[in-house]
């Protein structure tokens, strides 16, 4: 597909958790808990509040169409700020400095004063009904092709346990939000820019690692389409596919629009009670319903069921809108008869509503109030089909397709956070911020300076154990040996069944013992495994591989050689290999192979 010709414009917003000691606006630790460990619950409602300009945000309004009671799990690692029972503490300077560091890496200009705002989110994921957020710096560069518009520091939201139950452990962990300009023109570029930003973030060594600690939102539009914001792409590998599928969706919606106009289609918005039509139905969904309402979309036949991206139809879009009213979904005649609805019932339904060949009928089943609300939403979405692509916030589904979440939020969702004082950022402070080496530069340096092959250099630079490696090198351990120990032995020893945590000090201790000749490098894995079971480095070496001195070795070698004098004399130099094997069997892991070979050579030379 020629994306440039389609006028693809994409931008990304990256949210990355920062690895700070405390949360952004309180003193709780930034740890994620198992929701089973919660010790208390708090129950709250949220209401839409107007901005200080007096406007109400449309996205927020839609989120509160149902008056929902939210339940929040609290922990012994969370406090009153997370449950909105105490005013926030001042902005966490550690988090701000990480954000300033990243801003500097992108060559951005910091704002002289950081003003915290409340960004309204009333879907339950924030106990206060807003996320605190502050712009920190503006206008940066990524490579030569793209621009970063803003970086902000903000609070992470709650984790959803299920439905309306949330867990407040994650709430308040600092995030950096990086917003690019809509400067990407192909799905692959989106991937590359996201990857580059991710690498830059990790270069600081001060961001959280692991699933869910980084999330990408993608803004996508094509010529004649509309801006759509797709939230929560957690895997980088999917990001290009999400963009491809969104382009496909927008193209399909534009084609549907053209077809509707060509057919002279019409949505008159009339709603009929069709409960009686299904009085005798065998459909499980309809059987249980107190009320069933229907509407006719004139000229929509075949289009409601048209696939617009894998697994998604125009009908799915309407269904997403309807679900805002608390209904489970909808049925449309493009997919019926099915789900226990018979051809006969479909026939009567169409006849009752006066729907013709070219028309589609949509029905919803629930309480009357929910049905009426859902029908209004369905009619609204059907009317939007004439305009093509609606501006929306969408969420990613498995595989890279998306579902409707809410309208794009507007400026009305922002409100000044009156409980937090502005934080000045002086030019001196910004100038004094040290920039870390980019991981890509580190990879190059490890290869040239340390003689690592490219694979090892890359693996080491991107490893979570990079700080341990850098410490080891600083303490005089040979880089390649350190990298091998950390990437292979340490990993294997930590993964073994029943293995406990092996401290950095222990790893360094083992490597130092090897470097000093007090342990053989062949024994590193075994020693580390013993450390993982709780032994000190000294005890682990003594137990697993008591070091073998040169003198002891010489004695052993003399014994072995003396038993094989005839063999050695008959074979000459060729005897080295087999005899070496016999010796190694006795001393493997207790003394360096190189030393064994030296001592054995000496002994052979002596007797030959």
């Amino acid at each position: 597909m020629d994306y440039k010709a389609l006028g693809l414009k994409a931008g990304i917003e990256i949210h990355q958790q920062l690895n700070t000691k405390e949360k952004l606006f309180c003193h709780s630790p930034t740890v994620i808990r198992d929701s089973d460990e919660h010790y208390d619950v708090v129950q709250r409602y949220l209401r839409v509040a107007a901005s200080e300009m007096g406007d109400v945000d449309r996205a927020a309004q839609e989120e509160t169409m149902q008056h929902r009671l939210f339940t929040y799990y609290t922990y012994d690692t969370t406090g009153l700020v997370e449950i909105d029972e105490e005013p926030p503490a001042p902005l966490n300077r550690e988090a701000l400095d990480i954000v300033l560091t990243i801003a500097k890496m992108f060559d951005m200009t910091p704002l002289p004063e950081i003003h915290t705002m409340r960004k309204m989110i009333v879907d339950g994921s924030a106990t206060s009904g807003f996320q605190r957020t502050a712009l920190v710096a503006l206008n940066g560069k990524i490579a030569d092709t793209c621009r970063i518009e803003t970086v902000a520091v903000e609070e992470e939201a709650c984790q959803r346990v299920k439905d309306t139950i949330f867990s407040v452990d994650r709430l308040g962990i600092p995030l950096i939000e990086i917003t690019t300009a809509p400067c990407m023109k192909t799905p692959e570029e989106v991937h590359d820019v996201a990857q580059y930003i991710g690498m830059t973030l990790r270069s600081t060594g001060r961001v959280k690692r692991g699933l869910g600690t980084i999330r990408q939102d993608v803004n996508v539009s094509i010529a004649d389409g509309a801006r759509v914001e797709i939230k929560g792409v957690q895997e980088l590998d999917l990001i290009a596919e999400v963009v491809r599928r969104e382009v496909q969706r927008q193209l399909s919606l534009l084609a549907i629009r053209d077809e509707l106009i060509a057919r002279n289609a019409l949505v008159n918005g009339e709603v009929y009670d069709v409960t009686k039509v299904f009085a005798e139905t065998q459909s499980n969904v309809l059987k249980k319903a107190k009320c069933i309402l229907g509407t006719v979309l004139h000229g929509f036949a075949g289009l409601v069921g048209t696939e617009i991206q894998p697994g998604r139809r125009l009908g799915s879009e309407m269904s997403d809108y309807a679900k805002k009213c608390g209904v489970g979904g909808l049925f449309h005649t493009d997919e019926l008869p099915a789900y226990g609805v018979t051809a006969e019932e479909v026939h009567i339904l169409k006849e009752t509503l006066g729907a013709g060949e070219q028309d589609a009928v949509i029905i919803v089943a629930a309480t009357e109030q929910k049905c009426r609300c859902a029908m209004q939403m369905i009619i609204r979405r059907a009317k939007m089909a004439f305009d093509g692509v609606p501006e929306e916030t969408r969420k990613m589904l498995e595989g890279g397709s998306t579902a409707y979440m809410r309208p794009l939020p507007g400026a009305a969702r922002m409100y000044p956070e009156t409980d937090v004082l502005p934080v000045p950022v002086t030019a001196e402070h910004f100038a004094g911020i040290e920039m870390p080496e980019l991981l890509t530069d580190k990879v190059k340096r490890f290869a040239t300076e340390y003689g690592m092959d490219d694979g090892m250099a890359r693996q080491m630079a991107y490893s979570e154990q990079l700080p341990l490696f850098e410490r080891a090198v600083a303490e005089g351990i040979r880089p390649v040996f350190a990298a091998r120990t950390i990437l292979a032995s340490l990993k294997e020893a930590s993964r073994a069944e029943g293995a406990g945590i092996i401290s950095d000090d222990a790893v360094i201790g083992v490597m130092k013992a090897v470097e000093a000749g007090n342990a053989a490098k062949e024994a590193v894995l075994d020693i580390l495994s013993a450390c993982a079971k709780g032994l000190s480095v000294k005890d682990a070496i003594a137990k697993v591989a008591p070091a073998f001195s040169r003198e002891e070795l010489q004695e052993l070698v003399r014994g072995i050689v003396s038993e094989r004098v005839d063999f050695i004399k008959s074979r000459g130099k060729a005897a080295l290999g087999p005899v070496m094997g016999v010796v190694m069997k006795e001393v493997r892991g207790r003394i360096d192979g190189k030393v064994v070979s030296e001592v054995l050579n000496d002994e052979l030379n002596r007797i030959m």
């Binding site: 029972e85 005013p87 704002l111 712009l135």
Partner: protein, 411 residues
Amino acid sequence: MTFTNTDPVTVSFAGLEMEGIYISASGDNAVVKLKSGYNICVPETAVTAREGTPAPEKPSAQPLAQNEKLPLLSIISTGGTIASTVDYRTGAVSSKFTAEDILRSIPELAGIARYHTLQPFNILSENMNPAMWQELARTIYDEIKDGAQGIIVTHGTDTMLYSAAAVSFMLDTPVPVIFVGAQRSADRPSSDNAVNAICSAQAGVSDLGEVVVCMHATSNDTACSLHRATRVRKNHTSCRDAFQSIGRSPVGTVTYPDGKVVLADDAVKRDDVRLSLLDELEPACGLLTYYPGMNPSVLDAFKGYKGLVIAGTGLGHTGTDCIEKIADLVAAGTTVVMTSQCMAGSVCDRVYETGRYLLDAGVIEGGSMLPEVALVKLMWVLANAKDAADVKRLMQKNLKGELDVDIRGEN
């Protein structure tokens, strides 16, 4: 260049040109709201005026629709968090909402009653004073006389208990008088103002007939407690359930969202008493918390006061070195009442020697009265009692539930 709030401006900063709306000055910097809704702070020199339409006027508010078949409640707004919004002058939260604004922002209220709204003053509750309590009591009295079937007073939470207690003593009310506030400002989606206000309206149309404080029963948005005005304290600086009844259970509970009101057996019921107002107060009264090592000369500060409530230690004590000064005050005509820092429980100055000396010095035992309530009561008693003996009698008589029982006289 000076700008005023909502002026359209252009910001030139970081190599960018951005359109925005001027919000306020911050030192040498200017705060500007960008199109994204973010406020940013840039050097004022980076801001220039922009041609453009100023922010559109807010649509004029529709008149409130009232259901004439519902009972009439008066909402008397005095300010506080329940009615607060951001103030661009200080950047902090201040009280600006009117009673009408409250009705508009909480439409559920319209299904419970019809309302007459008025705002005798609009202040944060730390700025309240006895003269305002009097004005408040008169306003409530007038509203009831004019047919209100219940009164809701929106009030800042900091000193709500003083105002509520003061109204309790000044007013005999046949209808519920509900003091309500919020611990989270009304401009946030999680504000407790809506649940508290809706519960207060439910209490306002209920069978209750006394002055109460209606606030969250727990941290949850599922119920409010109705606390007797003379037995309530704000016991937490920030939590929703900061208000707690001391030494007794709440006189009622209102569940949300079903609006069910359950009253305690000993709650005063609607029409149990006839409307009357005795609105005199003696404001020259003080409240002193005794602390170990307190210099007795602190008591000199109250010379000339008509009344002094001491929040003593434990059963109601001060250091023995204070007794002489207390005796001097009493001799000079100051009524001194002893209460306890313990909050729960009664004062008893007959157990320990120090207590007996205090009694000898002329101190009146305040029983189980909360120190703040005793202060307000003393102001009312001093303005309404016939003589010194009557002051003592009234201070030790349970007038509005402030005492568990009348204190038995001992000669």
